[in-house]
Amino acid sequence: MRSILEVEGLTKRLGDFALDGVSFALPDNCITGFIGVNGAGKTSTIKLLLGLMRADAGDIRFLGEDICKREREFKNQIGVVWDDGYFYPELTLLEMKDVVAAAYSEWDESQFRKLLERFGLQGKQRIGTLSKGMRMKYAIALAMSHRARLLVMDEPTSGLDPQVRKELLDLLLAYVAEGNSVFVSTHITSDLDKIADYLVLIDQGKVVWEEEKDRLLDTHRIIKGGAEELTPEVRSMFLTLDESSYGFTGLTAQREKVCRHLRNAQVERPSVEDIMLGYIGRSRI
C-alpha cells in the first residue's frame, strides 16, 4: 500500500502550544480522517503541510519526494478546502476563480463550470452572498478543477446541514473512486464512520495513533454491564468508563479478557467517536 503523503517529525512551536514530532503516512487512493478535539493541532498541521507556516523541524514527502524541493509542483497537485473559506466577499465567484486559476498549471475551466452548474452556483454572485454550505461547495469546485491528486480539507462539514453534508460525502467518495486521495480533518467523526478508510488521531500536538478504520472497529468494543462487576482489575481493562447507579458503559481494547470476567455483558462495536474519546482522556493522564 503506497503512501501519497508522508509526514515525519513535524515540529512547530506556536506560543503556548507546540506540534511535537507529528508523523503519519496517508495511504494512496483512500480517504483519511484527521481527528482530534478543537485545539489539538489539526489546523496547524495542515497549515504546515500547505506552506502557510514553516516547520521548525520535520520532513514532508509527496509520492516519495520532499516537497521543499519542488513546492510549486506539489501545490499544483493539491486541492484545498478551508473551513473559513478565506475568500474575499466583495469578489464574485468568477473573479475569485480568475486569480486562483492563474496559479495552477492544469486548470480545467470546463470542469469548473460543470461543477458550478451542478452545485447551483451563479458565477456572477458575490461570494459574500453565499451561505456557508454554498461557500464550501464553491471551495470544492475550485479544489477539484485543476486535476489535483490530493484533496486537503480542514473542517469542511462544520456548520452544514445534513443534506449538504451527505452531498459532500458522496462527492468525496466519487473523487477517490477516480484514483485520488482525500485528507480531511474534522471533529465531527460521525461523517468519518461512513466514508473514512484510514484515521490519524492527534491530541495536544502529538499523533496518538494512525490506523485503518476497520481495524480500529475490530479491536475495540463498547461493553455494558452491572456496576457490581467493576472490580479494580476489570476497571483497568477499560479505556473509558461511564458509570451510573444502574450500570456502566465502557470502551475496551481487550474484549476477550473483559468477557471472561463479566457475565451477561452486552458487547457492541464502537463508533469512531467512541474510540477517539478513549484515547484522548488517556493522553491527559
Partner: protein, 212 residues
C-alpha cells in the same frame, strides 16, 4: 500571474475607482489654486494621497478576509504575491501620472506638465514613502502599521524641517545642484527604482517567514 493578482486588487478596491480620477485631477488643481508656488509638489502630494487611499482599502480587505492565506496554499509563491503588491503601487502611480498629465494638457495655464526633474523627485518621494511603508506593513500587519503611519504623520511637521535643514547645506545637495535638471531627474528616478527594489527584497524576506 502578476496580472491576475493586480486585477484582483483592482477589483477589491472597486469602490474607489470613480473617486480616484476625480481626485487625481481635483487635488492638483486645488493645491495650485491655493499656493501657486506649490506646483512642483502638486503631483507628488496628490499621487501620495490617491495611491495610499487605494492601497489602504485593498490592504484592509486583505487583512479582514485573509484571502492571502488561501492564495499561499496555491502555487503562488510568497515572492510573487509581494511582487503583485509592488506592481499595483507602480500601476497606481502610473495611472495617477497619466491623469495628471491629461489634466495639465487640458488646462496648461493652471497646471504645469511635469518635467523630468519634477517627475523624478516626485517619484523619489513616493518611492521613499511606500518603500518604507510596505515592509513595515508586512512585518506588523495592517492594523499596527496604520498606527505607525499615523504616528509618523504626526511627527512629520517636526521631522521635515529638520531633514530639509540637514539636506540643504550638505555635500549631496551641493553636488546635485551642479547638475542639469534632466540629470537630476534621471538620478532621482534611478534612486527611486533602487529604493523600491531594495524595499521589495526586504518585504519578500519578511513575508517568506510569516506564519499565516
Amino acid at each position: 500571474m502578476i496580472y491576475h493578482l493586480i486585477l484582483k486588487d483592482l477589483r477589491l478596491g472597486k469602490r474607489y475607482w470613480a473617486l480616484l480620477p476625480i481626485a487625481a485631477v481635483a487635488i492638483p488643481f486645488f493645491i495650485v489654486s491655493k499656493a501657486a508656488a506649490a506646483t512642483s509638489v502638486a503631483f507628488a502630494l496628490s499621487s501620495l494621497f490617491i495611491v495610499y487611499l487605494f492601497f489602504n482599502s485593498v490592504s484592509m480587505a486583505e487583512e479582514k478576509h485573509r484571502g492571502a492565506a488561501y492564495l499561499c496554499a496555491t502555487p503562488y509563491t510568497r515572492k510573487t504575491l509581494v511582487l503583485g503588491k509592488y506592481a499595483l503601487i507602480l500601476l497606481l502611480i502610473g495611472s495617477s501620472y497619466i491623469l495628471y498629465t491629461l489634466a495639465a494638457l487640458i488646462a496648461p495655464e493652471r497646471l504645469p506638465v511635469l518635467g523630468i526633474q519634477e517627475l523624478g523627485f516626485s517619484l523619489l518621494l513616493l518611492a521613499a514613502v511606500f518603500g518604507l511603508f510596505l515592509p513595515i506593513q508586512y512585518r506588523l500587519g495592517y492594523e499596527k502599521s496604520r498606527l505607525v503611519f499615523f504616528f509618523f504623520i504626526f511627527l512629520m511637521p517636526f521631522l521635515l524641517p529638520y531633514a530639509v535643514g540637514e539636506l540643504d547645506g550638505s555635500s549631496l545637495s551641493n553636488s546635485m545642484a551642479g547638475l542639469a535638471p534632466v540629470m537630476q531627474g534621471v538620478l532621482a528616478v534611478a534612486a527611486a527604482v533602487i529604493l523600491l527594489l531594495g524595499s521589495m527584497a526586504v518585504s519578500v524576506r519578511i513575508y517568506a517567514r510569516q506564519n499565516l
